[in-house]
């Protein structure tokens, strides 16, 4: 089932043609009407006439988060104030907040993207969707709310909090799908357990649309098994409009609607484009946005394009589950390394407890990375050769996973720092 099969199943060449037309129109419009974009393009030595193919998008300058912050609140808007129908404001935990404005058409297109997303997860008329994302300045609540109404589903706009009440409503109103953060869904299931409610047996919940924070495939398996539902991964950031892109029922990669977004993956260091299948930073151009246009926005999210077409029939490209943030990336002797890769590789080694720490240093102009790991006490052997073999195995596994040789140190159990919430696993001692 697709919300708009004509667009969603459009043959790839046609889709690319459409993207090119939209890109060209956007670039001309911005060059003519926006001082910011005009001076950016001039500084960068690129003129709209230089955009002759879709590939030429890479000639355009990047936009970064600080461009939005520096132009707080609305200096980048390209419509007059009376055309705006809504503002959303990002939390601003890392600096000044950023403000996103929407025209009626912007809200409509955003809503369409979510109508497609929800339909792709098998949700439609007859479904009851509990929207447990925050309503308000955050885009999650209102975004999903309008998207679910658009497809004819019934919305229960619970927002976040008062979890016991949420569970009551889930039962009484026969909620079939929930949209929230993965951690909130886990919280809901824990509260349910305490209340003696089994989400699996005592509710008709069958799907969850989860996003707005990093989560893993292991979490998906756990949620699906415990709650007896299917959990779908949704993506978006407020700069792009909000949540917009989602997995389909194949649950293997997030479809990025090509008529709405042009997606590139670039090397986070050089900004050079990377081929499909290679991990890098996702750069997004929103092709049809009126109030706050976004060209080549560096999301800071690390992912790759999945080269194969999706069995669902949608022709729009997919990205794999995000594997980290550019801010977390380490460059070791020119190779990009993510702590999440280390974590993943170590999970497969039964002798280890899973706790680890990365120490990066520079010795004679050469980056050296040391991974400290803790063994499980039951894997301890009195023989030095056995311990050396474990260390060798860890070093070998990491080298295969990271493509760069790293040192490995066995640490005493409990000696590495423990973290609650977001783990700070990297100690960078390099003096740049």
């Amino acid at each position: 089932m697709a919300w708009d099969p004509r667009i969603e199943m459009m043959p790839e060449p046609e889709l690319k043609k459409l993207q090119f037309t939209l890109l060209k129109t956007l670039v001309y419009r911005l060059y003519s009407f926006s001082n910011f974009y005009r001076s950016r393009m001039d500084e960068h030595g690129v003129h709209p006439d230089d955009i002759q193919t879709l590939d030429d998008a890479k000639k355009l300058p990047f936009m970064v988060k600080s461009d939005l912050r520096d132009n707080y609140p609305d200096k980048l808007f390209t419509v007059s104030r009376d055309e705006l129908v809504r503002y959303h404001v990002s939390s601003g935990t890392t600096g000044k907040p950023t403000v996103v404005g929407y025209t009626q058409k912007d809200v409509d297109i955003w809503t369409t993207s979510l109508a497609r997303a929800l339909t792709a997860c098998g949700i439609g008329r007859g479904d009851v969707v509990q929207v447990s994302y925050g309503y308000g300045l955050f885009t999650g609540g209102l975004g999903l709310h309008y998207g679910a109404e658009r497809i004819g589903a019934t919305v229960v706009p619970t927002s976040v909090g008062n979890t016991e009440r949420q569970l009551e409503l889930m039962q009484d109103l026969h909620v079939t799908a929930i949209a929230c953060t993965p951690s909130y869904l886990i919280h809901i299931s824990e509260v349910a357990e305490k209340m003696g409610i089994s989400i699996k047996d005592d509710t008709v919940l069958r799907a969850a649309i989860l996003g707005a924070e990093p989560w893993s495939e292991q979490m998906r398996i756990r949620i699906e098994e415990q709650l007896g539902i299917r959990a779908y991964n949704i993506y978006g950031t407020s700069e792009l409009s909000g949540p917009m892109f989602c997995e389909c029922e194949e649950q293997n990669g997030i479809h990025m609607w090509s008529d709405l977004a042009l997606v590139e993956i670039v090397d986070p260091e050089t900004g050079e484009p990377l081929p499909p299948g290679t991990r890098g930073e996702m750069v997004v151009t929103i092709l049809q946005k009126e109030a706050l246009p976004i060209i080549r926005y560096r999301t800071g999210d690390i992912t790759s394009l999945i080269p194969e077409p999706c069995p669902c029939g949608r022709t729009h490209p997919r990205i794999e589950r995000l594997s980290g943030r550019v801010d977390d990336m380490l460059i070791i002797r020119g190779i990009n390394v993510f702590p999440s890769q280390v974590e993943h590789a170590l999970l497969g080694i039964p002798e280890l407890s899973g706790h680890f720490q990365i120490i990066v240093d520079r010795k004679q102009a050469l980056d050296v990375m040391l991974v400290q790991v803790e063994m499980k006490p039951e894997a301890f052997s009195d023989k030095i050769t056995d311990l050396m073999a474990v260390r060798q195995k860890v070093a070998h596994t990491l080298k295969n996973a990271l493509n760069v040789g790293v040192g490995v140190e066995l640490a005493e159990p409990g000696s590495l720092p423990r973290f609650e919430g977001k783990a700070k696993r990297v100690v960078d001692k390099r003096v740049m």
Binding site: M375, F380, D382, G414
Partner: protein, 144 residues
């Protein structure tokens, strides 16, 4: 029977190679009033294994585990040696002829006697051959 009588439980403790780790282990043993008969440290790059024969291995194991150390019991044998030239040769010769391989060893030399502590691949053979050749082994009952 012999195997049981003469197989001694050595405690082995994993230790990171940095200052204060041996002190931490030794303090723990002191607190439990555990006496150390013999001990050695085997080191590799970045870590080491502290091996010790103590009078109360069970108590030592519990205490060190509680403190978060990785500890294991390892079966070793302890052979009395004549504390004079050739003493070590006598023992080593017996094991060599019996095709018993020594994985590691350490020794102490006291007032009256010297003792060689051995971790070998074939404990039964080692005990039988040493005793067969008139050698004397420390009883495991000394270390419980």
């Amino acid at each position: 029977m012999d195997t049981e009588n003469f197989t001694i439980k050595q405690i082995s403790v994993f230790s990171e190679n940095r200052p204060g780790r041996l002190a931490a282990i030794a303090r723990a043993l002191q607190e439990e009033e555990i006496n150390i008969f013999a001990f050695s440290i085997a080191e590799a790059k970045g870590f080491g294994v502290v091996r010790a024969l103590v009078d109360k291995p069970g108590v030592a194991y519990k205490k060190l585990t509680e403190l978060g150390f990785m500890v294991s019991f390892t079966d070793v044998i302890a052979v009395k040696m004549r504390d004079e030239p050739g003493g070590l040769f006598e023992i080593a010769k017996i094991l060599g002829e019996a095709e018993v391989n020594i994985e590691y060893a350490y020794a102490y030399s006291g007032k009256e006697v010297a003792v060689l502590i051995l971790r070998v691949d074939h404990v039964d053979d080692a005990i039988r051959r040493i005793r067969g050749a008139g050698g004397e082994l420390l009883q495991s009952s000394l270390f419980t």
